[in-house]
Amino acid sequence: MDYLAQTAVLLAGLFPKLVAGFLVTLGIAAAAVPLALLFGLLLLAPRMDRRAFICAPTIGFIELMRNTPLLVQIYLIYFGLPLLGFYPSEFACGVAGIALQHGAFLVETYRGAIETISQRQWDAARAIGMGRFKAFRHVILPQAILKILGPLGNQVIVLTKDTSLVSAIGVMELTMTGKMAIERSAVSVEIFVTVALFYLVLTTALGGAARLIEHRAAGRH
């Protein structure tokens, strides 16, 4: 058999395994995205609080998350929590690590969007008798969401690519599946090119979906 046919046969044999790994990758992303969005929202109020004893520790935590590698954060959770008596699964540790770091990036995205909406809008909403919450809910938030959609789409794509790091703690997702397959066979580059293609298809689809949502939302206003 020539090289092409041989490689094709090998990759076809591996395909079900790679698809299984791909589904785990999807699962990690699907669990981490809503958690990261939520975690970012939870940090928003303390981050924007004017009292130093509330906002200073929040800023400290956010900066620590943003300025250290995600891999080390995942290791800290995975190898550190058992010392404290918790034994979560590899999957849960990976999802938690990803959600924590991306949540810390998202707070700043949220804050940036809220702060670019001019103070005059706040003043106008307050002047017609809206309370702080009502002004936020009906005036600031709808505009902020429009501004956030673009960066949010990007963040989801970065997060999806970051799921590959969970392979470092032994979760059998796409990257890990590729690595294991290489250790058992003679071809290596071909397998990782296939793995890369899986990721490329996923991120391209996500990018397309993000643009579509952004376009729709912009059209409605």
Partner: protein, 215 residues
């Protein structure tokens, strides 16, 4: 409680020096490569532009860890024997280059076309327009995102440990395997990364503010 960390600090700091070397190599070479490609993408003909668009699109859609594995396995497959640092570093340079190219290209394209028309009407040549009109403005726009790009690249050097390159994160795992003091060691390592990354992060934000103020 933290004497394990203090006892192993010299070993970890040796890892940090390796991380710094890796970071300096990846950031300088990746930025230079990306800047060249980004300029080519803005001025080149259709074939060059298409090729560069494909390069940027493909690399940006793949996790850097997968690109590192590809680099690690590609050299031996091509019959070349290189050490892990070269293979992983090369992969990361190509990766950082794609992100840099996109930043540089969009910075160049954000310079208003009327300025180019004005420069042409003054009789300036293409290279002179690029050098004296476009690039000075584009560089100012590109600096903050390039700094953030460098920051991401520095953090990503830790992923090289997964492929087998010895640096700070790899050293930390070794120490943890020996001492089992995972919490203390990884917290200490996070502090070292923070000390490297945070000043750059502040610099990026300062440049962003200055740029906003001048516009």
């Amino acid at each position: 409680m933290f004497d394990v960390l203090i006892g192993n600090l010299t070993y970890l700091l040796r890892g940090a020096v390796m991380t710094l070397w890796l970071a300096v190599a990846v950031v300088t070479l990746g930025t230079l490569l990306g800047a060249g490609i980004g300029i080519l993408a803005a001025v080149g003909n259709r074939i060059i532009r298409g090729t560069i668009t494909a390069y940027i699109f493909i690399l940006r859609g793949i996790p850097v860890l997968v690109v590192m594995f590809l680099g690690y396995y590609a050299f031996p497959a091509l019959g070349l024997r290189v050490n892990t640092y070269v293979a992983v570093g090369f992969a990361q340079i190509v990766y950082v280059g794609a992100f840099t190219a996109e930043i540089v290209r969009s910075a160049i394209l954000s310079v208003h076309p009327e300025q180019i028309a004005a420069a042409k009407s003054l009789g300036m040549r293409r290279t002179a327009i690029l050098r004296e009109v476009i690039l000075p403005q584009a560089i100012r726009i590109a600096i903050p995102p390039l700094l953030n790009n460098a920051l991401t690249a520095i953090k990503q050097t830790s992923y090289a440990s997964v492929v087998g390159a010895w640096e700070l994160t790899y050293a930390a795992r070794e120490v943890v395997e020996r001492t089992l003091a995972s919490f203390q060691i990884f917290l200490g390592v996070m502090a070292i990364y923070f000390a490297i990354c945070y000043p750059l992060s502040l610099l990026a934000r300062w440049c962003e503010k200055r740029l906003m103020a001048t516009h």
